[in-house]
């Protein structure tokens, strides 16, 4: 079934500031196999000039509200997890995220377009601190396999 185009243009904002924690940075760094001391050792991070532990670049996804910035649990959108493939992901980073940052992420579903039998969803992200400093922006492209609106001829025709 096609996705609900009424969702295009909607924005989803972190309901509460996302508090970047040391243990979360360590856990994420371990999950991506990154043993760089800046992600694990506060003294090493401070010695390198950072106020606290530094998050790996893609840590930003954890601060994105919902699943990849989409209200996947809202049945009205019509997103079927089993049909979704992650197509592209882009980040532009103004500065590294560090422990202690309080981030507000805004995601906007900018388009749902048809590509053959699939639909392509583009979501843009903006990450700011609670004091309004832009930390990063991003774009996510998801492919919903086989959900494009059918081009069937009107009912009653084409079936003979």
């Amino acid at each position: 079934m096609p996705l609900n185009q009424d969702f295009v243009g909607r924005r989803f904002v972190s309901p509460v500031p996302f508090q970047v924690g040391r243990e979360h940075i360590r856990q994420f760094a371990r999950a991506v196999g990154d043993d760089n001391p800046l992600h694990h050792d506060v003294e090493a991070a401070k010695a390198a000039g950072y106020p606290d532990l530094v998050a790996p670049p893609t840590f930003l996804v954890t601060a994105t509200p919902g699943a990849l910035g989409l209200p996947t649990d809202d049945p009205a959108l019509g997103l079927d997890y089993t049909l979704i493939v992650h197509g592209e992901q882009r980040f532009t980073l103004r500065r590294p995220v560090v422990a202690g940052d309080e981030l507000i992420a805004t995601s906007t579903l900018t388009s749902i377009r048809t590509a053959g039998r699939n639909e392509v969803l583009v979501t843009t992200y903006q990450y700011e601190t609670t004091s309004g400093e832009e930390v990063a922006v991003g774009t996510c492209t998801l492919v919903s396999r086989g959900t494009a609106p059918s081009r069937d001829v009107p009912a009653g025709e084409g079936t003979r």
Partner: protein
Amino acid sequence: MSLRSGDLTVGECHTRLLTQDLTRTQLVMYAGASGDFNPLHTDDVYAREAAGYPGVFAHGMLTMGLTARALTDWVGDGRLTRYGVRFRSQVWPGDTLSTRLTVTAVRDESGQSVVDLDVVTVNGAGDEVLRGYATARVD
């Protein structure tokens, strides 16, 4: 450690091994750390029976995260300004992944020297699983 623009040559490559024999445990760790609990990545029965895949496969963002380490290890900490990828094919438990970074440009951007890189991650069979770009500040 940081790179110096004068030491970089367009076309030079750096290759790095990211993981050998990617484990399902790593997929579960990534689900927990990232908060992305799409069952396609953690529930083998769901992946096979509900979605028709041979089994669970890695989050695209896990591959992007693993690849980021190759980048930050080479360009230095806090230097990355742009990083974008296209997921080309799935990454499965047991896969070996390595990343090749190729310098595509060394240029000036608003008074700051930067390096542009092509980023390609391949599996053990040599198939591209991720292709993208990155830009980093250099001295």
